[in-house]
Amino acid sequence: MTQSLDAYLILASLLFTIGTFGFLARRNAIAMLMSIELMLNAVNLAIVAFGAYVPTLAEDGALIALFVMAVAAAEATVGLAIIIAIYRNRRTPLVDEYASMRE
């Protein structure tokens, strides 16, 4: 009953929306980054679940998940570097105080 593609996909959906909410609602830039990681992981979970339940996709799903992780690592690297650079200028990690895109 519990272990079905539906269950995994719903789980992934919930994780994704939690990440979405975090990205939309948190003020801290690093918390936003963590939310993004959560969303990426939700996607990964869905991919692996598809791989597990669709026989032709078993290895491909795992591989795509690995690629996603690699890209996520790159994203985290650059994202954190940007946050640190901004923090150094602004002395705050709070995103809603970054409004220079407005000008």
């Binding site: 979405t20 990205f23 939309l24 609602a25 936003m32 995103v95 809603d96 970054y98 409004a99 220079s100 895109m101 407005r102 000008e103």
Partner: protein
């Protein structure tokens, strides 16, 4: 001369290239005089006239030659001398050439324009001797001569219109010559603006002519338009419309009712200007225009009736106003209006030759009177109020005698110039069946004599009312001023007899007969014999008699020489008894007030309403668009917070909307 393009077949070529060169010299000399005087006149000091006046004298000599060739020698035939300088506007079907023509009408106009112009130039040497801006004055005066000569020499309507506007401009410049004086600047503006009203009609008339016949050349228009009327291509009312539009221009330039208001105010200009422009030349342009367009007016009796009505009304009205004015130049100005009314009256009844005849004689004696008034004003130190003159006739003898001649001439006392021309106008109108015109003309003749000798009496006779301070310093004007007066007095005496005798078949009739041939033909005027002992003698006697009566009454009231003393008490009691008419006359029939009400009050209110409309609706629409954009931008700018999360929320919301929309609308 390779300078001139070969005249096409349609333009009759007569006269040698010397004659053509002289026609061009008529224009080039004043224009060069204007340019040179404007450039170097300021440095010439009190010799500022040294270019301008000789230029006009040369023009006068050249004009004399051309007049002789045209009128006496008949060197150019009936059609006159026509030639083309160059093609001005070659725009597809629309071509306008700079064509000049000298025919009998132009030659007669040249007599007045160049002679009076030359004398006024000479007179100005003395009159303007002490004015620091005299170089400007002479430059303007030359410019006016150029414009006026272009006006009479032009051989198509567009060139005529250009000259028409140029004389308006020079008139504006000269009226406002003393531009520091507010009244002068206002008068110049008034003249210009009132003229614009007429010019607007004139311009429309020219456009109507072009759209109807596709050409603006005099000879073509005068052949094609009547032909079209006869063939039924255009209706009679269209012809009348064209004529009335042209006449609107004439009304403006010749200061006829209802556009007459600018001329009295134009007396703010220097007196030579009043003599030249506002008596002898420019104001005659309207008469010239109607006379020039006589083949058109011949097709439209209705238009001629309007001309007659306007002329008659102006004639009476102006004479009535002239009774009560105190400013010597204003009296003369209203007198000019009245005499121009006579001319239009004559044109309206179809007596074109007498109209032009009166134009010529009036040009001379009114020029004389104006120059004389300038001499008087000069003598009493720039005083123009006739109540502060009097008894001058012994002090400034030459001026007095010449002005007396002018007054007798304008009053129509034989054998002076005015008698012949005025008598012809009255006689012809009676014989052409316009009894009412004749009756009014006779009344105006009485009034003319009356107001002219009122002017003479108040100025020259009776006790002196001159300011005691200036009294001892009254002096006769220098020879440069009295000379032109005397020279003008000669034609004022003789020209009527010279041109108008025998009556109705004098020289001027012979000269102008070819010009007005189409008119005579169209109106079917019977060539009645002149009967000195019949109807004509009676009419002549009547007009002389009423003029004499008016003159004698004026003598009794305002004095004459030393024989009659003025009776101010009688004048006062008459004035009191006729208080109503007196006030109407003194206040110029309230036309200025009417105009003020109509155009300043009502027009101002309308303009303010339009202004309001413009500001609030037109500008409001434009500004509204701007502020709408600005407001939208301002509103949208609020969305551009620069905060990533706001944008991300937008993305999430958009995703939701699209997904829900897809699920519930498209996928269903």
């Amino acid at each position: 001369m390779p300078f001139f393009t070969e005249a096409p077949e349609t333009v009759a070529t007569a006269g040698s290239s010397l004659d053509q060169a002289l026609v061009l010299a008529l224009l080039a000399l004043p224009l060069a005089g204007f340019g040179l005087t404007a450039l170097v006149g300021r440095r010439m000091g009190d010799k500022a006239w040294a270019i301008a006046v000789p230029a006009i004298v040369l023009v006068w000599l050249a004009a004399l030659y051309l007049i002789f060739q045209t009128l006496v020698a008949g060197a150019y035939g009936e059609a006159g001398l026509h030639f083309r300088l160059y093609e001005w506007i070659p725009a597809g079907d629309f071509t306008v050439e700079v064509d000049f023509g000298v025919d009998a009408l132009t030659a007669v106009m040249l007599i007045v324009v160049t002679t009076v112009g030359m004398l006024v130039h000479v007179y100005s040497i003395g009159y303007m001797a002490h004015d620091p801006g005299r170089w400007r004055f002479f430059a303007y005066l030359n410019f006016f001569m150029f414009s006026m000569l272009l006006l009479v020499l032009a051989d198509n309507f567009l060139l005529l219109f250009v000259a028409w506007e140029l004389v308006g401009l020079s008139s504006y410049l000269l009226i406002g010559f003393w531009y520091r004086r507010r009244s002068a600047a206002l008068a110049a503006k008034k003249a210009f603006i009132v003229n614009r009203a007429g010019d607007f009609g004139f311009g429309l008339g020219i456009m109507a002519i072009w759209t109807t016949v596709g050409t603006l050349d005099y000879s073509d228009v005068f052949q094609l338009l009547p032909a079209q009327v006869e063939s039924g291509a255009i209706e009679g009312w269209q012809m009348t419309g064209i004529c009335l539009l042209l006449f609107a221009g004439a009304i403006g330039k010749s200061a006829q009712f209802p556009l007459h208001v600018w001329l009295p105010d134009a007396m703010e200009g220097p007196t030579p200007v009043s003599a030249l422009i506002h008596a002898a030349t420019m104001v005659n342009a309207g008469v010239y225009l109607v006379a020039r367009a006589n083949p058109l007016f011949a097709q439209s009796p209705e238009a001629l009736l309007v001309v007659a009505l306007v002329g008659t009304f102006t004639c009476v009205m102006a004479a009535a106003i002239a009774f009560t004015q105190k400013d010597i130049k204003r009296v003369l100005a209203y007198s000019t209006l009245s005499q121009l009314g006579y001319m239009f009256m004559a044109l309206g009844v179809g007596a074109f030759v007498p109209a032009i005849f009166h134009l010529v004689t009036h040009g001379f004696f009114k020029g004389l009177l104006f120059l004389g008034s300038g001499s008087v004003i000069h003598a009493v130190h720039e005083e123009q109020d006739m109540d502060r003159m009097g008894g001058l006739w012994r002090r400034i003898g030459i001026t007095h005698v010449t002005m007396l001649i002018g007054s007798l001439a304008i009053a129509g006392i034989p054998p002076l110039a005015g008698f012949f021309s005025k008598d012809e106008i009255l006689g012809e109108s009676f014989k052409l069946g316009f009894g009412w015109v004749w009756a009014i003309g006779i009344i105006v003749a009485v009034m003319t004599a009356l107001y002219m000798f009122r002017l003479m009496g108040k100025t020259f006779y009776g006790p002196s009312n001159v300011d005691p301070h200036t009294e001892p310093r009254i002096h006769e004007s220098p020879i440069s001023m009295t000379g032109p007066l005397m020279l003008l007095a000669v034609p004022s005496v003789l020209i009527g007899f010279a041109l108008g005798w025998p009556p109705e078949s004098g020289l001027i009739h012979q000269w102008l007969a070819p010009v007005f041939h189409p008119l005579e033909e169209a109106l079917h005027h019977g060539a009645a014999d002149y009967q000195l002992l019949g109807i004509d003698g009676f009419l002549l006697g009547a007009s002389v008699a009423v003029s004499a009566v008016g003159m004698v009454v004026a003598w009794r009231l305002f004095g004459f020489l030393s024989t009659m003393a003025p009776r101010p008490a009688l004048v006062a009691s008459l004035t009191a008894r006729l208080n109503g008419p007196y006030r109407i006359s003194r206040d110029k029939w309230y036309f200025d007030d009417l105009n003020h009400l109509l155009f300043v009050r009502v027009g101002g209110a309308v303009a303010r309403a339009l202004w309001w409309f413009d500001v609030h609706v037109i500008d409001g629409a434009v500004n509204g668009v701007a502020s709408l954009t600005q407001g939208t931008g301002h509103g949208l700018r609020q969305i551009q917070t620069g905060r990533v999360q706001n944008y991300a929320l937008g993305i999430a919301g958009g995703l939701l909307v699209i997904a829900v929309g897809y699920l519930f609308i498209v996928a269903r």
